[in-house]
């Protein structure tokens, strides 16, 4: 039974992609399909990023073991959706105009935060395998993967700046990320105290 948590999580992570595919060939994405696709993919990426960040705190707080077993999977899917999101921006939204894209990234915080998030997720996704864990050594690997919290922070601001006025939903998500980070900070401090 327990072995099924991983395939189940895999299936759940596929649902947004399948749904977007179905939508693409049936009802479409409304008046501004590129914007709708960007929004949907960005949202899925963000939720999966928050889910990845929640795995370790869930273990700490509730002593569950299964979240750790799906952490890599959810993180990889998060990167997969981040890539689709970025591709939509580069190809459909900006029409592959590299000059415009570079200007957009450097000039506008909103785009910069999004791009920075992806650039952080890239090495984390690449080194998410057991092989890389061994190659880097667990300590260094762990230190590198702490960057995911920076990605969470940057993604939050990217999400916040998406709207003209701050949305309650976005602020709530930012609070979730903050609480998850705080859990890690407190746990680390607690261990230090216990060790000393």
């Amino acid at each position: 039974m327990k072995a099924r948590i991983v395939p189940l999580a895999f299936a759940a992570c596929c649902v947004p992609a399948i749904w977007l595919g179905v939508q693409a060939v049936t009802v479409g994405f409304g008046a501004n399909p590129v914007e709708a696709l960007l929004n949907d993919l960005g949202y899925v990426t963000f939720v999966l990023l928050a889910t990845t960040l929640a795995c370790t705190p869930a273990q700490i707080l509730f002593k569950w073991s299964w979240p750790i077993r799906i952490r890599k999977l959810v993180g990889d899917f998060c990167f997969f959706y981040a890539c689709l999101h970025l591709l939509t921006y580069v190809v459909l939204d900006q029409g592959l105009d590299l000059h415009d894209i570079v200007k957009d990234v450097l000039k506008h915080k909103f785009i910069f935060f999004g791009m920075a998030t992806w650039l952080i997720l890239l090495p984390l996704a690449v080194t998410s395998t057991e092989g890389w864990k061994k190659r880097l050594g667990f300590r260094r690997w762990k230190r590198l993967h702490r960057l995911v919290y920076l990605a969470g922070g940057l993604a939050s601001f990217h999400f916040l700046l998406r709207f003209k006025t701050p949305r309650i939903e976005t602020v709530a998500w930012m609070a979730v990320i903050a609480v998850l980070l705080l859990t890690r900070v407190i746990e680390t401090a607690r261990r230090r105290v216990l060790q000393s």
Partner: protein, 304 residues
Amino acid sequence: MEITPKSLYLRRRDFLKLGAGATLLASTAALARAKTEHGSKLAGVKPNPKYTVDEKQTPFDDITTYNNFYELGTDKGDPSENAAALKTRPWTVEVAGEVGKPKKWDIDEILKTFPAEERVYRLRCVEAWSMVVPWDGFPLADFLKRHEPTSRAKYVAFESVVQPSMPGVKGYAGIPFPYLEGLRIDEAMHPLAILAVGLYGEQLPNQDGAPIRLVVPWKYGFKSAKSIVRIKLQERQPTTTWSQYDGGAEYGFYANVNPDVDHPRWSQAKERRIGDILRRKTLMFNGYGEVAPLYAGMDLRKFY
């Protein structure tokens, strides 16, 4: 570790199902992507060949389901979904301030007094998308002159409706209501500026600003205030909703379409025409170069 109780584990599966369920739920809303019901036809509306553009008109369904109207909700689809929350009868429009003849109009009296004509205008939103809309309306200048503006009437302030039933007004939308807009008097008197009462020859759908709205095609869409209840002529530059936001960093009072002045969060050099995938170049004054003399000698980077 074999400590996960089975009940918790089962709950996890419920949680996963819940996630999938939520996704499906959100998609049903998309599936039901509504087509808007058509309003009653406006009588005797003829196209004005002087004011048209030789570009494909945006389909009615797009114009009526992709809206910014925060009083009816902040998402693009909200205004059409919540359209019924706006009641357009009875409706009065009050004209006050620096005028010889102030008046409180009944909307039906306006419709009778000022026959509408069709004008096909480009609409450029500050969010870098655009449409081509066949509006039905009449020159704002005709309407204002009827009230005999005094020499102190330097600006025109517009106020949009607030009805307690409108969902955006009840909740938090990030901006205060009523929605306020304004023009300089010479901008308001320009023949391109109209008050619209319909589109595609039909009464304006509520989500598009029924029963009467401003249309100023050379400015970003947010300048064209919807569902107007008060027009005040005054000597001082009026306070406008978006120019107050964020200390005016985002939106200036003028808000003329200008490909050279970026929005803080994105470039304004290009726009996506609704119906297209790739962007096209944005034109100065949205292609309405005839308004340039209004801004002669002004630094439009400063007065954005």
